[in-house]
Symmetry: C2
Subunit: 343 residues, 2 copies
Amino acid sequence: MSSQEQSERTEIDELGEFGLIQHLTKNVELHNASTLQGIGDDAAVLDHLGKPIVVSTDLLLESIHFDLAYMPLKHLGYKSVVVNLSDIYAMNCLPTQVTVSIGVSNRFSVEALEEFYEGVLSACNAYGVDLIGGDTSSSLRGFVISVTAIGEGMPNKIVCRNTAQIGDLICVSGDLGAAYLGLLLLEREKKIYIENPKIQPDLEGQQYIIQRVLKPEARKEIVLLLEELNIVPTSMIDISDGLSSDLLHICTKSEKGCFIYEDKIPIHPDTKAFAYKLNLDPTACALSGGDDYELLFTIATSDYEKIKSHPHISVIGHIVEGDKKQLQTKSGNLYPLTAQGWK
Amino acid sequence: MSSQEQSERTEIDELGEFGLIQHLTKNVELHNASTLQGIGDDAAVLDHLGKPIVVSTDLLLESIHFDLAYMPLKHLGYKSVVVNLSDIYAMNCLPTQVTVSIGVSNRFSVEALEEFYEGVLSACNAYGVDLIGGDTSSSLRGFVISVTAIGEGMPNKIVCRNTAQIGDLICVSGDLGAAYLGLLLLEREKKIYIENPKIQPDLEGQQYIIQRVLKPEARKEIVLLLEELNIVPTSMIDISDGLSSDLLHICTKSEKGCFIYEDKIPIHPDTKAFAYKLNLDPTACALSGGDDYELLFTIATSDYEKIKSHPHISVIGHIVEGDKKQLQTKSGNLYPLTAQGWK
């Protein structure tokens, strides 16, 4: 279903490794003064002028992290960058550079890789980040992607996971669970398509949840908002494994417990509607779904007034003493939060 | 032939992703003041105190870059780090941090990954570099490795490829061609072993060329020596694709030509002997073999006296005006240098 089959096909071998890199990165623009030299030498040269930097890296493998049957290559390139930038924002930092390495088999054409890099550069432009390097290799089979992101922070404003304090309010940006339900929808349509290629996919009215899985965004504006409101979160993480798992990371690393309220967890109406359609509990999807790339953070109660009415931030509970991590349901029952990884 | 089958076997699933990372990185020691925070958060935190940094990344894929039939996992871990550090030294910089990501299928046990990380940490300790992050993922098949190395340099001493000047002397560290012949030897023995597993591999007297392919080293001491001799090379690259290909990179990027002498190219006696045994020309192996990780650099003629008698540096020719890249053979004939990539 990707467009790689439609257009003309140039074999990777026609360009060679160096020619390929040059071809794919010819449109790279540099945005940051900290990038002294980008692609083209043994290494890129950066100078963050005395500011501390943060570094994060992710590996994305075909058939494990993505399925090219419903993930267009341009979206894949975009998402590969964005999920790494999300880690930088989760440190309360601003990303400045990325490296992108790919391993591809000869089933991919140069045109297919152009699409992928179009997505990579589109994300770089959208977030003001420089593509400064990478590696291009052949693979026996499958598409391998490795992205490393570098960002800069202010010395006393880099926020880790292990510094939540008792009484702090637990906040989450945006809404949760949509990416997981979007994925279930795409998996369902793929299955139907495989069984009968003549049936058109039924994605009517599901734009929101599909966009959340195919074109996730990192929450740059939340980091900028916190700066504007003069709030330094006491801890922060991005939600990639699900609210439950990521909140447990903050609690465990901070050696604290938490208490959250089911009715405070932000879930989009479209997410709820599709969950009900599949006979799933929307709260369970939000807790365990993952791939949301929203920011989960804790703030001192003294900062509550500054954010309480912000439409994109929900206060869902608070940090408590001890090691109990609890969810109070809408009906008032208490359940222990458990990390249910999402495969 | 790797030792992963010999010892007890713990399945990766028994630890889970987070448990696995924790387990594999529990022995990480930090060496550098610039590493403020290593593994365990969304990102590592670094502060190079105003020094410019350099960043390089490499992807290593099973069956493309390495063959586990003769590459022990510990050596693979060591080599994965070293080849990246080599890129940092090639910028005349000192590496300070690495991230290492791996994708592995369930054919690998926890013990096998322990061996791999033993090699990674051994390289980190040998070169004084900190392992600050990475990603651990399952793969459908094959071992996927992605390493990113970060180093620091002095503002006016970072050396690129594109700054060689006419008349500069072309220098190379150590000797060339051994890794390629070591690989041919291992491939030959693998083939014999597959045909008849009872025949013991005949590696007698070939320690040097085998070590050069299985346990390459990055030339830290050359960078330190240049500093000590107060030489800033006018250009530098590490030899990963072969002398010919990498010298052409310097020439092309610098918009210059070169003239080198066959009899000046450093080749170890063991390399020569094994090349003759296979009816190969040792010079061709040195020019096109690759995987040597020696440093190729140019210096101003005024620096010649400082290095002329150094046993680990050979002056093999000089940079010329124009775009001719020539080799003068021992018999006095002239041949154009061509980039023969090495697969």
